[in-house]
Symmetry: C2
Subunit: 200 residues, 2 copies
DNA sequence: TCAAAATTTAACCATTTGGTTAAATCATTT
DNA sequence: AAATGATTTAACCAAATGGTTAAATTTTGA
């Protein structure tokens, strides 16, 4: 493993665990088992190192989904597939939601927000929505509010993971299992919301 | 306004804006227009000052709901009422969700989690659930997953507020309006999920 | 009224922080 | 092998940080 890779791995860990303000350059150096000066040699400053990590992590997490999405025709199927695929990522990187949320909530630094690939959300949640609506395949909901809801239902438990672990007394393994079970539950909710009432 | 009140007000602002690690005692002192030594005179340390703020804020936000809740009989009505009431609070304190989430995600400090009044959630989401389920008034969903979903749908947009403001180009006022509209949308989702299918 | 207690101030302190520098070591090429 | 460039180290630095102290001022109560 090259020095640069060691730094990135250590920086990922520390930034994710401690947040930007909580992270210490010395700790990153220690975990990478290198001299602190090396951090600045490879990535001029703390800010630039963070930027690197953020960009990389976001790139990994977001756009992996939209590829196969296109093979699904109906809006409901698309959303269900999104949940399924997204949970695969979330279960693998359960700390990512908090990392992203706390970054975009950082004061005076709106430029991180602009790095989020939100095109893919539009793609998922607006593409086949209107055609399915017109053809009566789905119920008339507000597509924006619906999108926020699906993302909220999906992501929220990962933001409250420490609390859930503590309060209902579960470990990482059990949490993972709960989230696995959650997939079908959420897909069911989506179907119940979107399936039009039968006016027979 | 007493010195103590001035400190608390300033500390609230700074901790909420900057987070625990980002907050500076000097900035709190400046905003309160007092000497930095006063902070330590009134609240021995940064940690204890934070604790005070956290406790107070949590107390304000959480338990205000459950009072009137009891007057609602059915589970669906209870949940809808919860959403309505909770949004009143959220719209008033839109920064609270991130404040709480980032606190409970702080490493090595699980004791903040224990201060969250989670009894009231059980009260809301489990109380009339089973009786309504048995009498066939609601569909069979997993009550835990459902509770997490309702909270997720409700809270999530407030966690992504900076991103929403930036990405869809709205200001605080417009955000507030969107959230106001969201109430009915969410209540509708809840009804669609919980109302049993008519097997006539 | 006057002493004791509470409050406020300014100067100070030790430690930690992100960052720098210049020398040393290692690798590469000629 | 010598020179060149990349990498690594140790020592260092200025600024910022949370916290302290002792004196000064104000408030209180007997």
């Amino acid at each position: 493993m090259s020095t640069e890779e060691k730094i990135i791995k250590a920086a990922e860990e520390v930034f994710i665990e401690q947040g930007y303000d909580g992270a210490r350059m010395q700790e990153i150096a220690d975990r990478a088992e290198i001299n602190k000066a090396m951090l600045h040699y490879y990535f001029r400053s703390k800010e630039m190192l963070f930027e690197k990590i953020f960009e990389e992590k976001v790139k990994v997490v977001f756009p992996t989904i939209s590829e196969q999405m296109k093979s699904y025709e109906g809006f409901t199927d698309k959303v269900c597939f999104f949940i399924e695929q997204y949970y695969e990522i979330l279960i693998k990187y359960p700390y990512m939601p908090f990392f992203v949320i706390s970054t975009i909530n950082r004061k005076d630094d709106k430029h991180f927000i602009k790095k989020l690939p939100f095109g893919f959300i539009k793609e998922i949640f607006f593409e086949s929505f209107f055609s399915d609506l017109q053809s009566g395949k789905i119920r008339e909901v507000n597509p924006f509010q619906f999108a926020v809801s699906v993302m909220g239902m999906s992501i929220f438990p990962f933001l409250t993971r420490p609390a859930m672990k503590e309060l209902i007394g579960i470990n990482d393994e059990q949490f993972q299992l709960l989230m696995q079970q959650r997939i079908d539950e959420l897909k069911n909710y989506v179907k119940l919301i979107l399936t039009p009432t039968n006016h027979a």
